[in-house]
Subunit: 187 residues, 2 copies
Amino acid sequence: MRADAVRNREAVLRAAGRLFDAADDPERVSMDDVAAAAGVGKGTLFRRFGDRAGLIRALYEERAERLYASLEPDPGRPAADAVGDLMSALLRFKIENRALARAFENAGGGPYTASGYDRLHSRLTGLMTEARGPDSADFLAHALLAGVRSDLVEHLGDWPEERLRAGMAALVRSVLSGGGSPGRPER
Amino acid sequence: MRADAVRNREAVLRAAGRLFDAADDPERVSMDDVAAAAGVGKGTLFRRFGDRAGLIRALYEERAERLYASLEPDPGRPAADAVGDLMSALLRFKIENRALARAFENAGGGPYTASGYDRLHSRLTGLMTEARGPDSADFLAHALLAGVRSDLVEHLGDWPEERLRAGMAALVRSVLSGGGSPGRPER
DNA sequence: AACTTAACGGACCGATGGTCCGTTTATCAA
DNA sequence: TTGATAAACGGACCATCGGTCCGTTAAGTT
């Protein structure tokens, strides 16, 4: 990649980051805004990132990468605790990046198109399988991740963070404890 | 309300319903499309429903109303079972109306602006409080509802419905069973 | 039948995502 | 250093879409 291309890519990501962080409603950050703030032509934006969703995804995953890195599996840590740690970190991340996260989760294709989602999901599935067996672990991992959807976090925006964390902890505990017998029909 | 107004309102809702049901990507159903399909001018659309989100909400809540009606509280039914029933019905509803539900949940303000959400949420909170006490019941109810977000259902679209239901049942069971001690600090 | 006024409808507007193409410039070989 | 090449640029341009406006129509009333 040419030197100026690299420079511009960086400038765009920085500018977009600033704009989204400052925005109340991420939908109202336009591509023109980003281009202007980055001091770059619109064509450059689209050539580099494909479309709006692409730009947002690139920015989001860049930040998420740092999160994932801080979550390297620790073989010594019990699986149940690891699940709690992960969800807790994820919750903090969503709070700190709520505007960007909202933009990302509403952009084309929803949250499930990001490579990061699959990583999180399979990691969680693994940990839960280890902690409580494989039954429905797959779905439960999805459910856990749904519990930190950015617009839910936003909706609960005026709860004291304490209460949010308590709720999250209760959810994790529930899901890990397994619940009653699985196969019993409803009657 | 004048007779023609009533007629047109109905025509619009029917047409919109058809279009969303047939759509792969609900974002691509335009207001012009709806107006044309309903045989009505665009002005009529906006005068009646305010904006796109308003139309979608009206349509969604109309259908949801039938769902809620079929879920009238039954004092004889144990709370835990009632939670299962509700989530199960909700899951079916989201599957049957996935395009519309996606349109609705992505339209202005997210899913939490609908009056229906609050009703469901407080109903669930009540049932869960009855079944397992009030601790974090509020948050857990939100989490349960997040588990049937339309784009998650869509993402899991190729799972056999059986598996989905099993997962949902496991989630409900977990959340109702309560999990371990709440206050214990992490390490 | 005459009148009032709610309702209509489609031309019109502004904003936005995305494209196109003539121009600039990084890179590299001679 | 210079000249050739193609990658990268940028902003005018386009299409679409949500939403508004206002002259026209027709429902309801007396």
